[in-house]
Symmetry: C2
Subunit: 148 residues, 2 copies
DNA sequence: CAATAAAGTGAGATTGATTCTCAATAAAGG
DNA sequence: CCTTTATTGAGAATCAATCTCACTTTATTG
């Protein structure tokens, strides 16, 4: 049994909830993706593999995965919420191009200790890191200059 | 003439746009607020002062203020976009309590040089800083423990 | 293996922030 | 004034996210 299955089961059982078939399918899909995803992408990913789960169930399951610490809501783009699994993934910065939508990740190693220090100083329990920089990637910046 | 008026006028004129009465009212309201605000708050702020501007115009003006560098879209909370004016305000971190909604700001002085360095390395033009940490403030964390 | 209770699901309706449309109005420049 | 161009307001439209509720799974018990 994979670790994320064990953790999710534990989380659910502690609250008298069940690891049902739809939830298991969503969990597997989430960990099969290695990129940021939104509900629509997850929905189609499941359909492609003939694993039909309703959108409503996806919308209901994502908060459970967030609460259990397996995924994180880390971006908002094009009026949609994007998630990514975080189990085993170090926190990072997101560089989001407002024009082409590309998302680049860079290390937070230099910064995380400082952030955690501030957190403990004010006794703040961090649940989600949303450390996002929006602007123009170099390609799109070059294009804007060309076309004035 | 205040600096933000001058800057906004310059921005508009460079694009053959006009500093109209509604836009001027919105601009003044934005700089009269010293906190994060959303469209609804701005709308009511204006109404209170008998300065009626339609929501549509507010929604149309905010992107202009963002583009001109006077304000920033820095938070999303309770399904709403929140802005704050940034002219003369140093960038900062946001600590957002998911339970009571409180937003605390802390300095970015230690971190900003590192971020800017990474930005120039990858030639990324930053337009908005959305450096947000979500979780529980100490008060809400204490409450959760009390009530198990 | 039923039978029962509790938790979960899917389809479709609903909500609500944001965007769009378009006729009417305001600003700029002669 | 007059003309041109930009802007506005009211209400309709959009669409991600949430909610409702009858039906289905799952777990438990005898
Ligand atoms: Mn990421
Ligand atoms: Mn702020
Ligand atoms: Zn780009
Ligand atoms: Zn709180």
């Amino acid at each position: 049994m994979k670790e994320y299955e064990r953790l999710f089961t534990e989380y659910l059982e502690a609250r008298s909830q069940r690891l049902t078939q739809p939830r298991r399918l969503i969990l597997e899909a989430v960990f099969s993706l290695h990129d940021h995803f939104d509900v629509e992408q997850l929905y189609h990913r499941l359909r492609i593999h003939n694993e039909e789960v309703s959108r409503a169930t996806i919308y209901r399951t994502l908060p459970l995965l967030v609460e259990s610490g397996l995924i994180q809501h880390s971006l908002r783009q094009a009026d949609r919420d994007f998630y990514e699994h975080i189990l085993g993934h170090p926190q990072h910065l997101h560089w989001i191009c407002r024009k082409c939508g590309t998302v680049v990740e860079t290390s937070l190693d230099m910064v995380l200790p400082l952030i955690n220090k501030v957190a403990s100083q004010q006794r703040f329990q961090i649940e989600d890191y949303q450390l996002n920089l929006r602007g123009l990637c170099w390609k799109c910046a070059d294009n804007e200059n060309e076309n004035q």
